[in-house]
Structure formats: C-alpha cells, structure tokens
Symmetry: C2
Subunit: 418 residues, 2 copies
C-alpha cells in the first residue's frame, strides 16, 4: 500500500495567520486514488526545518507532496533547497519562461528579473507545467520515493494536482484501495448514537473502521475499508453491506446516505419536488443565501432574499407591523412568521426560511440573552417555527443558526411534499 | 526561546474530510505569548503514529499541544496512550464526573457508560477543566517538556486554550518576544512590490524578517522580529521604525497599517464618515452582506440587502427596466447601476454595492463568458462601475467578486467623503 506525507511550507502557517486548506485538498485527492496519507506537516520558511522534514518524510513514505515556498519573492527558499537535496543544477526552462512571458504580455505588465528566475528549475526534476500561474511544479524521484513540489497558491496547486500529479501517481505508484462510505445523521448526539451502535461496532471485521465526525447538530459516520486493488469489487460489496446494516439501524435519524452538505441536501429536495426557495434573514445577514448559492446550478431553485438587518426593513419591506416589533420585538415568533410569509410573496417562491436573533457579543437583554434565535419556515399554507438558545461566539452562532434553519426546512419539505 | 509543536489527531484530517482550523488558532495563541511554533503535524487515529509523533516532538520542543482523539466514541485512543506514555494509572476525576453529570441533567438526557468514562484521567496529569463540554483537557510534564492534550471540538479547544493553557504557559514557560507588524496593500502584484522593496529588504537586520502574503488583489507584508523578553521595548521600537519606512515606501498602495480584513476596513470607514451601507447582490448570493455582518456591531452601519438572483427580482424589486434586462442583459453596466441606486432607496442607506455576474461552471456565453462580472458602487449623487473577467472556479469567483466590490467601495468612500 503506497503512502504519502504532505509538507506545507510557510511561516504564516506556524503563526496561524492563514488556515491551511491546501493539505486537506491534497489529502482528499490522494485518498481517492488509494494513496493513504501518513502525516501532514507544516514547517516554517527555514532551510534546516524544511530539509529535516523532507529527509524524515523521505525515509517513511513513497510519495512526498510539498506546497508553498515557490513564489517570486525573497522569502522563498524551497527551490534551491530541493535542487541541493536532489543533487541538481539550476537551469532556465524554456517552456516555463515562454509561459511566464505570455502571462505578462496578456496583462500588459513589464517582466522583472524575479519573474525570469521563476523559470529556473533544477535539471534533475520533471517540470509540471502550471497553466494557472508563473511558478512551475517540480517532480523528483530518489530511492523509490517520488517528491513533488507545488506552488502554495491554492488555485494553482489545485490545477496542478488534478491535471498533472494525480494522473502521474495513478500511472506510477502501485496504489491499494481505500474505500470510504459515509452516512449523515441529525438530531442525536455522538454518545447516544455510539451506544446504539455498540453491537454493530463489535461486528465489524478488523479491516473496516467506523469513525464519528460530529458537527453541531449533525453527525457523520464514516466506514473505511482498506485492501488490495485486486479485491476492490469484493471490498466495495463488503463495505456496502455494512453500510446498509448501519443505515437500517439509524433509519430514524439519517439525513443523507453519502458525505454531502446540508445545502446540497436542500438542493436535491427542492429539485425533486420542483420547488423554489427564498430567505428573509436578519441575524444571519445573508449567510443562508450564500450557503444555498454556493452550489452550482442554484439559480434553478433559488429566487433571491431580503436581508432585513434593521427593523425599518423588517417593517417597510417585509411588512412586519410596527406594533409587533414594539410589543414582541424583532427577535420573536410573530416577527419571523411575518418575515417568512412576506418574503414568499416578494420573491414569488414556494418555500421560505426566516431568521431573527441576537448573535452577540452585544445586543442581549435579560429576557432575550445573546444566542436567542427565532426561525420560521413556510409555504403558502403552513408555517413552522423553532426557538434556539445558543451559547457560542458570533461566527459559530451564525453558522449554527444557518444549519438549524436548513434542517428545519428539510423536515418541512419532507412533511409537506413527499 | 521556548518553542512548541502542535499535533492534531484524527483520520479525518488525513483524508481531507475536514479542514484543520484548530492548529491555526493554537499557533496564533502561542505566538501572542512569544512561544514560536516549530511544526504542526497531523496524524491519524493510530496508536503507533501518535506515539511516534509525540516521541519525536518530545525530543525537539518545550511545549507539545495535542488536539483531537478525546471524544466519547470508540475511535478515540489518545487518553490511554497518554496514560501509558507518561506512566500513569487511569482514575475517575470527581470534579469532571460531577460536571458531566450536571451537563446531562441540564439537557435532561440519561448518562451512558461512555460518558462516565470521559471522567477517567491519568493520575499523573493536571486536569484542565472543560466548561464547554464533557472531555477534559490534560496537562503532563516530563523532562522539562510540557504536554497538553485538548479535545478536538473547536469551540471546546478554544475555551481551554484561552482560559487555562495560555495563562499556565505564561506563568510556567520562559518565553521570548516575537513581534509581528503587518501592512496590507492592494492593487499591485507581489513581484512588483518586491521589486520596489529590494533596497528595503537588503537594509533589514538579520533578526527581522519580511514575508509576502498575497491573496487575490490584496497583499499583506509582515515584518517579524524575535528577541529576548527584556529587550521587548527596544524590539518594538525597532520594528516600528522599519514598519514606518516600509509604509512610506508603499504609501500609494497601502489600505491598512495592521493585519485586518477588508470588511473591517470598510466598517471603520463607514463609522468614520457616519455612513450606512447596503448591497444588491445577484451572483454573490449574499456573500458580501455576510462578510459585512460577520463583524460584531455591524448593525450600526449595515441596513440590509436585496439578493436578486432571478431576473424577476431585479425587475420587480430593484426596478431594473424589462427592456434593459432584455437588450443589455442581467450582467451589464446599466443593470448594476440601477440595482445600486434602487437598493439605496429601498433600504434608506447612504452607500451601496451592486453585483451581477456569471460565476460558473454553467451560464456562460460567447459574449459573456463565465467570470464576467459587473460591479457598481453608489451614493445618492454618484455611481462608479467596474467590469471583472475572472478565470477561477465558482467559489473563488464569488470570493474575488466580493473582495473587488469592497475594494471599489473603499475607494469610493474615500473619494466622496474624506
């Protein structure tokens, strides 16, 4: 079974200035082709640290993927280091130079010496042509280990992974099969689900693992089987058998039979029942609409939204009566009911979500502390509401409100239309 | 100078199913108190791998922070491993047990055997009480290394870091000073800025580093100085001197003199000039409004938005004339101008952003390919527009549109009001 170590380079990763999304992406891509990731390591822009990590990885893994440290500026030291590690000489690569020249020409910008330097590569590497930027990827081999260096800009790294690295590794690394199957549940806590699954877990063979991945109100259960490529079909059947058993046991709380997002689940339901949706958002400030429209093709079922942050918009646009806002308040059941109904009319949609709450850190009162949220979901004949009392920070409160609202809409659609 | 290694545990990190935000947060907190992070390592739920990573970190660092592997379910193996590594015996901690019982009582849920087990800790550790969940943190010391194990749930980990770990490390680890100073620029590429800063970089003393952190249209420049705690005031003065020199040199492209987000920059300008804002969003689907309202206190300057995904909402709510939509199209300059103007009136705001574009992957035409975006910013007397031609994937296109729109609004506010 081939394995890999991912090394990400950059001081910004060690001081927490940026979140490392690159290594998750790389890990996903490697897993898909049956290369299991042993470790992910982040090191600073320091020659010795990079060298040590590379050297340690070289001893342990079949594939090493490095990202970062390839930009045009002076804090980048990876390329000369790789040249030294793999015993090469730096040379200008004509194809890369031509590509960089073309990019600068397209943007009508003068080329600088540092840009020409980006076309320099060790003569012992295979150049992985970077169509999305100026820094090329590089592939080295040494003592049966494949070492691939990619730029750290996520968009460029992704292009190279998909177009060059994955096809190369598929051809050149004898990979085993890793198959994951995930089901998603909602409404029951991790320990209660675990209690229900005690016997199931005990029945799992050694080579199949079950992992619990909780995420506020939702719980993903992931089965993983590893084995040889020749047995792939048998492994697939085996894991499917256990997945069906798992699904049958958790029948009442399953919301998806594959790893997916809640917005994708909503999208599938809207398409299935030929519905259009809308949102009237106060405290989430557009986050629910953003989650829905992050899906490609959302224009077939999403019409639009009213974000009513100020009471004046709740009153003037969403027609919440002034006396309701005064007596019941902006964060109240009658307010979200009216918001949910009116936004249906304004956007001519079939179903709606409305939310109003206090996300914090300020704005709480004794009767309505920070974390108080009212949610309504509606169609032309029915409204359902839910009250939340959250205890998190602002960003988390926004995320959980969004997730809870989508879970409520999901239930509503199933109850009303299926 | 004290240093640290962060070890995150969980198969989900190695298959890329979740993005690791925990270690960025931990790195930030450690940096603030002058502990520099040597490495971040992610390993799977595998005893040997965790043991090896712990052992290697033990040899290299003064502080080890582990997260993950402490939940109630069966895939968790960290606690017994730590018990073995540090030579302890598992015992029930009365205070933790009482706390868990109280949590279950509050939610009116029956306690299970696995929950009681969460109160078990090695007798050689100091328990770090977890007010936000059931899994306690644990602190071990061995041969001058401090090893702290925290639950992987971000909200719980953060609480423990801030309330227990940071105060403890401040008291017990002799930390040096690390000072970062960041300026943010926009409108000029990394290599051009680097060219302008050649002499400046050459003038930097050995103990001061300059890093380039590009992010589509924006570039953060970070100066870092390291030294002893006693010299802190002198170091602060020194880095400030270089920061001023840097700022003077990049005067025409600076948008912030500290590490901040574009939405915070906008917020500060709105407050400074006593303005309220609104958005009329088609292709960004609420993402701009979400970015603005993610800031605490945004209700003082953000009124609300209209998300006009379908043309019917552009026409009926935002009053874009049907013939404009027909002849010029929804993605056109006259459309966004009308959207920007009308949303000012609907929400009674002082300044507005309007966007309409094709985010992909579908929806492009020969004249208007995927990535075509029109942006308008307006107040009651003036409108400015910008055309973008983006070449990224859907999510990236949404993010860059949002960032470009906020940059345009920033310029507009400064030009109109300062």
């Amino acid at each position: 079974m081939a394995n890999a170590i991912i090394i990400t380079i950059g001081d910004e990763l060690l001081i927490g200035q940026v979140i490392d999304t690159n290594s998750s992406f790389i890990a996903q891509e490697l897993n898909k082709i049956g290369i299991s990731v042993l470790q992910r390591i982040a090191v600073g822009d320091n020659k010795q640290d990079i060298w040590d990590a590379l050297n340690a990885a070289h001893k342990k893994s079949d594939v090493i993927i490095l990202t970062g440290g390839l930009g045009p500026t002076a804090d980048d030291i990876t390329k000369p280091l790789l040249n030294e590690y793999f015993g090469g000489t730096m040379v200008i690569n004509a194809a890369v130079l031509e590509h960089i020249e073309a990019i600068f020409k397209r943007f009508n910008r003068p080329m600088l010496a540092v840009n020409i330097k980006q076309a320099e590569v060790p003569d012992v590497c295979t150049v992985l042509f970077n169509e999305r930027g100026t820094a090329p990827g590089m592939l080295f081999t040494k003592e049966n280990t494949i070492c691939i260096s990619l730029p750290g800009v996520p968009h460029e790294m992704k292009g190279l992974m998909q177009d060059k690295v994955v096809p190369y590794l598929k051809e050149n690394v004898l990979a085993s099969s890793i198959i994951h199957e995930t089901i998603v549940t909602a409404g029951e806590g991790e320990s209660f689900v675990a209690e229900r699954l005690k016997d199931f877990e005990a029945s799992l063979p050694q080579h199949i693992k079950l992992a619990y991945l909780p995420n506020y109100g939702m719980l993903r259960l992931r089965l993983t089987v590893k084995g040889s490529k020749e047995n792939e079909i048998a492994l697939q059947q085996e894991i499917q058998w256990f997945k069906n058993k798992l699904a049958a046991q958790l029948n009442n709380i399953i919301i998806a039979d594959k790893d997916t997002t809640l917005s994708n689940i909503i999208a599938a339901l809207l398409i299935e029942y030929n519905l259009t949706m809308t949102t009237a958002e106060s405290c989430t400030g557009g986050y629910i609409a953003h989650q829905i429209t992050a899906n490609a093709g959302s224009s077939t079922y999403f019409n639009g939204s009213v974000i009513a942050y100020q009471n004046s918009i709740k009153e003037n646009v969403l027609k919440v009566p002034a006396n309701v806002l005064e007596t019941e308040g902006a964060v109240s059941e009658p307010t979200v009911i009216q918001m949910a109904k009116e936004v249906l009319a304004i956007t001519r949609s079939k179903v709606s979500i409305a939310v109003s709450g206090i996300m914090g850190p300020g704005g709480g009162t004794h009767e309505k502390p920070v974390g108080t949220v009212w949610i309504a979901v509606a169609n032309n004949s029915k409204v359902e509401t839910q009250l939340l009392q959250l205890r998190f920070d602002r960003i988390k409160n926004i995320e959980i409100t969004c997730m809870s609202a989508m879970l409520l809409l999901r239930k509503f659609i199933i109850a009303q239309y299926s």
